[in-house]
Amino acid sequence: MNVHFKITTGLLDGIFADLRRPHPFASERAAFIGCKASRCRDGNLILAHTYLPLPDDWYVDDPRFGCVFSADAMRTAMQFALTEDASMFHVHLHDYGGAPWFSRPDLRESSKFVPDFWNVKPDLPHGTLVLSPDGAAGLCWYPHQKTPLRIRKVTALGFPMRFLGGAR
């Protein structure tokens, strides 16, 4: 099944600006995007709407990882999913050019916390997205499936439209 992630360039540019801000101790920032889902003939669309940045004090100082967020971050994202009936996508940035992909710790940790969103919204897809200045990749946990699907296409809507890739 194809998964196509869509976002406006205005929202995407705001995400880049936020994720590039230095943090007092974390080497990278992360956040969540509240999305809606839509079924299309060749798969599903994930439609980004609301950016939920993480305040500085929601990061945990753990030198083993670039970024560890606290339970407050998850609680806020889960609350958003519940009240807005939203699919939640974790997002972070690898700030170098080319097609990005998840590190091994990224994959390990996201496979733990992303399915937690099913505790509040079991019938919606949730996932994780990694951005680079000119690319993007993502994984989508489809309801009732243990293995995540690779996002096939990421499109930023605006002038010009940007096609950021997807499946690796």
Partner: protein
């Protein structure tokens, strides 16, 4: 870049691959939509979803690109004419011909990366825009009119509705008054006059706007795209209504509830 597209290399080294993977939706395959189908195939678009419930008839032959006298005799569905034309230009294209109103196949519409709206009436346009906004699809609408009078007058427009940016209502293109007037006139018989040359101008402008949005060849990106056509003076000009309102974002389709399927199920 293959030899086939060697004359449009200025669109970028990846443009051939990009167009090959894009799915374009064309709603309405009459005078405007048939031109758009033809030009999109020439540009290299590789995937199409084309919608029209109608059959070719003799009054269509004055403007429907690709339709023949034999099609009018045989009452060939317009989607079949358009598919034949697209496949004649690009035999590798994937075409979904939907011989029905676009509302009968929402999943096919939602699979499109860009939709061209070539339909009559404000309420139809408003419905199509709402569906495109819900799936975050840029919509490029074209339309023309021959105004009755002494003498006659031809005008038209190309309007782009880009998710996140001003919509048709923000731009003043669709107003409640127009919808109300149209509702009162509902059921009036008779087709509007349509001619091939002005349909061609508007369709070409729409395809150019699409290409500029996907693979820009210059740095000018229209903050809005509302182009008015004066068919008497043969001019195209940006419509000033959006500038007057000063809008840069859409106030009509901005909530999270305006996106996606209201009752999405896996």
């Amino acid at each position: 870049m293959s030899h086939l597209f060697s004359r449009q290399t200025f669109l970028g080294k990846d443009s051939e691959k990009l167009f090959g993977e894009i799915r374009v939706g064309i709603v309405g395959l009459g005078g405007g939509g048939s031109h758009i189908a033809q030009q999109s195939a020439h540009v290299g678009v590789g995937r199409f979803a084309i919608f029209d419930p109608d059959f070719t008839d003799f009054p269509n032959l004055n403007r429907t690109v690709g339709a023949t006298f034999a099609d009018a005799v045989a009452k060939t569905p317009k989607v079949v004419v358009a598919e034949r034309m697209i496949m004649g230009i690009n035999p590798h294209a994937e075409v979904w011909p939907i011989q029905a109103e676009w509302q009968s196949d929402f999943p096919a519409l939602r699979a499109c990366d860009v939709v061209f709206g070539c339909i009559d009436g404000f309420s139809g346009r408003a419905q199509l825009e709402e569906s495109c906004r819900r799936a975050m699809i840029p919509l490029i609408d074209i339309g023309m009119d021959v105004h009755k009078g002494d003498p006659y007058s031809i005008s038209g427009q190309v309007v782009m509705s880009m998710p996140g940016l001003p919509c048709f209502r923000c731009m003043g293109f669709i107003r409640q008054k127009d919808l109300d007037d149209e509702g009162r006139r509902y059921g009036e018989a008779g087709g509007n006059p349509q001619v091939v040359w002005s349909n061609g101008v508007l369709a070409s402008t729409a395809v150019g706007l699409f290409v500029q949005t996907v693979t820009p060849w210059c740095r000018i990106h229209p903050a809005s795209a509302f182009v008015g056509y004066d068919g008497d003076r043969f001019t195209l000009e940006h419509d000033g209504r959006l500038t007057v309102t000063g809008r840069t974002q859409c106030g009509h389709f901005s909530g999270i509830g305006d996106l996606g399927d209201p009752f999405w199920k896996p």
